[in-house]
């Protein structure tokens, strides 16, 4: 087969199955091919598979467009503008990469996304497109000021991550679009970061609450503060009031300026099987303190 579009048609397996619709799986080996296919609509995009398979039968339903053939979609590169993380970059790649201290929170989060098995397969882009309120990748990316790059047959666009995430399982992704990269503009690469995840067990846990903090310290003062909290609202969110309260503060006064009211006003936690809403607010406050402490350590 040449470089043309590569489609695998599925035949009956000869054991009584009705013939499966042909062309229900595609594994394009270039982005333009992928975008041409996506323009036709009706595809489910398969990246790492870790969110697509749970709940499905022995095979995935519907027409599946497998991004596995797009080598250019994975990997982390740096240019003068900042950092580019391919959307199909796996958690284990993030863990093993040598990254600026501003991305330590992302690396800490990556180590707590499922176990080794999920970290090897799961991708950052998939984590964002799945848009779970408890997505571990979101708070560490929010504090980096991350943007997402979305491609379609008609062009590319960039969106701030905060604008991409609309709600639980809801994003700005349009029909025919695929996320190609997560972009960290240079200002977001400054400083150090830390991540705090809270759950009721050590491994394989969906967060009750989680916080990422990125801090830039100059002359003993916080000159740039970015804080984000996840699992405490429909979408993970930056804590702008706390950020404002901390900006300009001497390092040794940082902890004192973190106020419950400023945290609470930014979140809208719910009661669920993991915790109560009121607990989440208190825990978020404590996690903010610890993440700030961790980023300063």
């Amino acid at each position: 087969m040449g470089r043309g579009r590569k489609l695998v048609s599925v035949q009956t397996n000869g054991r009584g199955n009705p013939p499966v619709t042909a062309l229900n799986y595609a594994r394009p080996d270039s982005l333009p091919q992928a975008l041409r296919l996506l323009a036709g609509g009706g595809w489910r995009v398969l990246a790492g598979g870790t969110d697509l398979y749970p709940g499905s039968g022995a095979t995935l339903d519907g027409r599946v467009l497998d991004l596995g053939g797009l080598a250019g979609l994975a990997g982390i590169t740096e240019d003068g503008q900042g950092l580019r993380i391919g959307a199909a970059t796996t958690w284990s790649t993030v863990i093993e990469a040598r990254l600026p201290a501003a991305l330590h929170a992302l690396q800490q989060a990556a180590r707590q996304v499922g176990g080794r098995q999920v970290q090897v397969a799961g991708t950052l882009g998939g984590n964002l497109c799945n848009a779970s309120p408890a997505a571990d990748g979101v708070p560490p990316l929010l504090v980096l000021g991350a943007e997402v790059e979305l491609a379609s047959a008609t062009g590319m666009r960039r969106l701030a991550l905060a604008d991409f995430l609309h709600g639980p399982r809801q994003t700005a992704l349009l029909p025919g679009e695929v996320m190609t990269a997560i972009l960290i503009p240079s200002p977001g690469l400054r400083g150090r970061s830390a991540f705090e995840k809270l759950g009721a067990r050590r491994h394989l846990v969906i967060s009750i609450a989680m916080v990422a903090a990125r801090l830039v310290v100059e002359d003993g003062h916080l000159t740039d503060v970015a804080l984000a909290v996840g699992s405490c609202s429909a979408v993970a969110t930056r804590l702008h009031l706390v950020e404002a309260a901390l900006t300009g503060a001497p390092v040794d006064q940082a902890a004192d300026r973190i106020r419950l009211a400023d945290v609470s006003s930014a979140v809208s936690p719910i009661d669920d099987v993991r915790a109560t809403a009121s607990y989440r607010s208190r825990a978020a406050l404590e996690l903010v303190r610890r993440a700030v402490g961790g980023a300063l350590a």
Partner: protein, 889 residues
């Protein structure tokens, strides 16, 4: 066509590109060593190596392995070889269902990091769940494999740390319920109630049945026998396939058989549901509409133990504590969902499935299907964890029905959600009462009332209601007691047996109150328990005069650890130490529960042990053989195991109630002694004679004489062996009278555990630091297996205390329902105490359930010690701990 290199050999498959690799491996390539636990990446059981990296095969599209290397447990590598040996030596494989995944994940680790530390092992293997071992032995095994090769221990009698006799199969990928099926087997799927209580109407399913690939639809009307079962026959109330209304979410209401290879689809099954008001809590059920017309107040049964005058004793006590404790539904969460296959062998219906109770399966399935028991043969598969839930029927009557009616082989594998919704749970309990002591700290009396949510059907509710009052005073001398436990029906999941039959719930109530009482009396909490611990000659709550009581030895053995831990905790904020104890009667409560064992010498010169006790990971295949070898006087390596199989092994009863080492062990000892007596008689030798096998010759040496018995030349006996013997043992018990007085158990086991932990007072999280566990086993048959039981039971106790809460409709998977992972179980020090019981084989007592009982109360006691917070509800999730911290102020 997808081609890849599987364990070094190129294979091709016509799997659809997005088929789960686990499905491709198991169904198309018939490599069933890769196990499926959840199909969601939550348990890691299906781990394989893809180009050397651990991945979940259930999350991997078949197309992704094109041209790549896949390693499964059927493969080999130097790392796997060392790991297998270390797993066997450390007892790191119990049931074996997670073992393939553990081995492969560890193999990847050893290629990256050849000599990992325990912390590195924990981090690397954290994606795989185990429900049996408590993880510590797995960590030890992987560390050991990094240090070098392990020398196996395969020979030894009672007391020896021999490897499990079924261990080689466990580390090769054992054959569980889902792993064997006859060619052409139909695939069964159940239609299940989405509501806790609902009327349903099955429409005309002719069109549904006529679809290509649908082999048949079966409803309650098709059941030829009595469509009602229970583990306690007089309470038989549960249909295998329900007739409207459905009484709990997940209840089977119809069955569809699909031709092999077809994608099963129930979405168009013609059924209409009319949801009805559901009774969720026992409180409303006691005054609500009846779930079973013959059970007023929705009361299944009330158990009572009454001795003396508890109210008067408490009224006259120097110190009294009063308190409540509430527990949740707890799911067994074994990694193997229920599965099995059935086929007809002539007139015999053969059912191969995961089970803890082949004899009971046979009787109950026969009754449901209108067959005589001799027409049903049960072959237990390897069992991927049971813990009580696989005592009850699951797939057995369903696959049996379809095989019987169609004449075709069939199979059924529950999904994780089906396993969680449709099988039994630990009873949620609401308990209250008072305990008093005199000015010296001696217990005066106990008043206890417990309400247990027994769910929609009886299952083991009667056993729980009877066991709790007998045990709820703990292993302490209690002169006056009134204890009542009511089992109340609701439209919740069926509550059944789960490691301890309600005793762990009762211990949570009693042991946490004991700490408060010790404080009131001004006595150290450990010493308070030692002061009140039962001794030989004391009368139990049921008036039974006890002997071989080991609780004082257990508690006293903790003293040096306690002193060290208390001193350490005193110097560090947030640190706490807790202790709790247990006792537990082994075997059925005041009911017969015999075991029969047959042992033989074959014409080929082997010892054939017909061992009908199902080994669900706890080790009876090995322990019973060690006892038999000891009694017979021949080496363990001479033994060949047969069974369990109802056609080949006499009934050794259920694997429940911590009874196999004791009851089946006694039967094995008696059978082996009888066989030895036959041999000695034939050789005219004395009791002290030494036996040896030389090929097919049995050599008997006695006082300078040597007799050689040519086994090959002996005529076959009734069991077609050269020589054989059979023995039955039934523990001597006496019925309980109307006040619950009597001798319910022939022997009891005892234990005490100490927990050290740290509480994060800002978040309410609990970090366990160390657990020290002292258990009186009477006689240790195999120390590695005993420690494995202790560590695994503690892990489940940790889950009960800190994280496990099954909520129907909300936690029906292994990411919302949390069980402990690697890293949630701290280092465990096991102290094996031996106070031999004259009734036990070589003095041995049961252990399997005891080990879970003290853990949860010891954790709550340590939390209170650390923070002052009194928790009256488990699991102690972080928000509840924080609320309790608020409440103490």
């Amino acid at each position: 066509m997808i081609a890849f290199i599987l364990n070094g050999k190129t294979v091709q498959t016509d799997a659809p590109p997005t088929e789960r690799l686990s499905e491709t491996l198991r169904e198309r390539l018939r490599r069933v060593g890769t196990k499926v636990g959840c199909d969601a990446g939550d348990c890691g059981a299906c781990t394989v190596l893809l180009d050397g990296q651990a991945v979940c095969a259930c999350l991997t599209p078949a197309a992704r392995v094109q041209g790549r290397h896949v390693t499964t447990v059927e493969g080999s590598s130097p790392e796997l070889t060392r790991l297998r040996a270390a797993f066997l030596a450390q007892g790191a494989a119990q049931c074996g269902i997670c073992t393939p995944a553990m081995l492969l994940t560890a193999a990847e680790l050893l290629t990256i990091n050849p000599k990992p530390t325990p912390d590195q092992v924990e981090a690397a293997l954290g994606g795989v769940l185990c429900r049996c071992t408590g993880y510590r032995s797995i960590i030890a095994a992987v560390v050991a494999a990094g240090q070098g090769s392990t020398v196996p221990v395969t020979e030894g009698l009672v007391g020896a740390a021999v490897e499990r006799l079924d261990g080689a199969a466990k580390v090769a990928g054992d054959s569980f319920g889902a792993d064997e099926w006859p060619a052409g087997a139909l695939v069964l799927k159940a239609v299940r109630s989405p509501h806790p209580h609902a009327d349903f109407r099955i429409g005309d399913f002719a069109a549904f049945s006529a679809q290509p690939g649908v082999a048949g639809v079966f409803t309650a009307a098709d059941i030829p026998g009595r469509n009602a079962f229970s583990v306690v026959p007089p309470f038989a109330d549960q249909p295998a396939i329900a007739i409207s209304p459905a009484r709990f979410r997940g209840e089977c209401v119809a069955l569809v058989a699909f031709e092999p290879g077809v994608t099963p689809d129930l979405t168009t099954f013609p059924i209409t549901w009319t949801p009805l008001p559901a009774l969720a809590a026992p409180e409303e059920a006691e005054t609500g509409p009846l779930i079973h017309a013959t059970r007023p107040g929705n009361l299944l049964i009330e158990g009572l133990v009454k001795k003396g005058d508890a109210a008067a004793a408490i009224a006259n006590s120097a110190h009294v504590v009063e308190g409540i404790m509430t527990t949740a539904f707890v799911e067994h969460a074994y990694i193997e969902p229920e599965a099995g296959a059935a086929w007809l062998d002539g007139d015999t219906l053969v059912i191969r499935a995961c089970t803890q109770a082949p004899g009971m399966d046979r009787e109950d399935t026969a009754a449901l299907l209108g067959l005589t028991p001799d027409r049903v043969r049960i072959i237990p598969s390897a069992v991927g964890g049971g813990f009580g839930s696989k005592l009850d029927l699951s797939v057995q009557p369903l696959i049996g029905l379809v095989a019987l009616l169609t004449g075709r082989p069939c199979r059924m594998v529950y999904s994780r959600a089906e396993s969680m919704t449709s099988t039994t749970k630990r009873h949620p309990a609401e308990m209250s009462g008072r305990i008093g002591c005199d000015a010296n700290g001696r217990i005066t009396g106990v008043e206890f009332t417990g309400r247990f949510n027994t769910g929609a059907y009886s299952s083991w509710g009667p056993t729980v209601a009877n066991r709790v009052p007998v045990h709820v005073c703990g292993p302490y001398l209690t002169p006056h007691i009134t204890a009542r436990a009511r089992a109340i029906h609701t439209h919740g999941p069926v509550s059944g047996a789960f490691r301890g039959f309600g005793v762990p719930q009762g211990a949570l109530w009693q042991e946490t109150l004991y700490d408060q009482l010790a404080d009131k009396a001004g006595i150290d909490r450990l010493e308070f328990r030692i002061l009140n611990a039962l001794s030989d000659g004391d009368a139990s709550a049921t008036g039974q005069i006890l002997r071989a009581v080991g609780i004082k030895e257990c508690l006293k053995s903790l003293r040096p650890y306690w002193a060290r831990a208390v001193a350490e905790a005193a110097t560090q904020p947030g640190r706490g130490v807790g202790v709790a104890a247990c006792w537990y009667g082994c075997g059925n409560t005041a009911l017969p529960n015999p075991s029969t064992i047959r042992i033989a010498l074959s014409h080929a010169g082997h010892v054939i042990l017909h061992q009908g006790a199902t080994d669900i990971g706890q080790g009876s295949n090995t322990v019973i053989a060690q006892i038999a070898a000891q009694a017979l006087g021949l080496p363990l390596s001479a033994i060949r195991l047969i069974g369990p199989d109802t056609a080949l092994t006499p009934d050794a009863g259920k694997t429940s109630a911590s009874r196999q080492t004791f009851v089946t062990g006694r039967a094995a000892k008696a059978a082996a002694e009888a066989l030895r007596a036959k041999v000695l008689h034939r050789a005219n030798a004395g009791q002290g004679a030494l036996l040896a096998l030389e090929g097919d010759t049995l050599v008997v040496r006695d006082a300078g004489t040597e007799t050689r018995i040519d086994l090959a030349s002996l005529p076959p006996d009734a069991h077609r062996h050269a020589l054989s013997a059979e023995a039955t043992y039934d523990p001597p018990t006496l019925p309980l009278d109307t006040d619950g007085q009597g001798t319910p158990y022939a022997l009891y086991g005892y234990g005490a555990q100490m927990v050290e932990l740290a509480v994060d007072a800002a978040l309410g999280t609990v970090k366990l630091l160390n657990i020290t566990a002292a258990h009186d086993l009477g006689r240790v048959i195999n120390p590695v297996l005993a420690r494995g039981q202790i560590e695994g039971g503690i892990a489940q106790g940790i889950g009960l205390a800190l994280m496990e809460e099954y909520l129907p409709g909300r936690t029906e998977n292994l990411h919302d329902y949390l069980i402990p992972t690697f890293g949630d179980v701290p280092p465990i020090k096991s102290l094996l105490i031996e106070v031999p019981d004259p009734e036990g084989p070589y003095g041995a007592k049961g252990l399997g359930e005891h080990v879970l009982i003290p853990t949860a109360p010891a954790i709550l006691n340590a939390i209170r010690d650390a923070t002052g917070a009194t928790l009256t509800r488990v699991p102690a999730l972080p928000h509840r701990v924080l609320a309790a911290l608020d409440g103490k102020a």
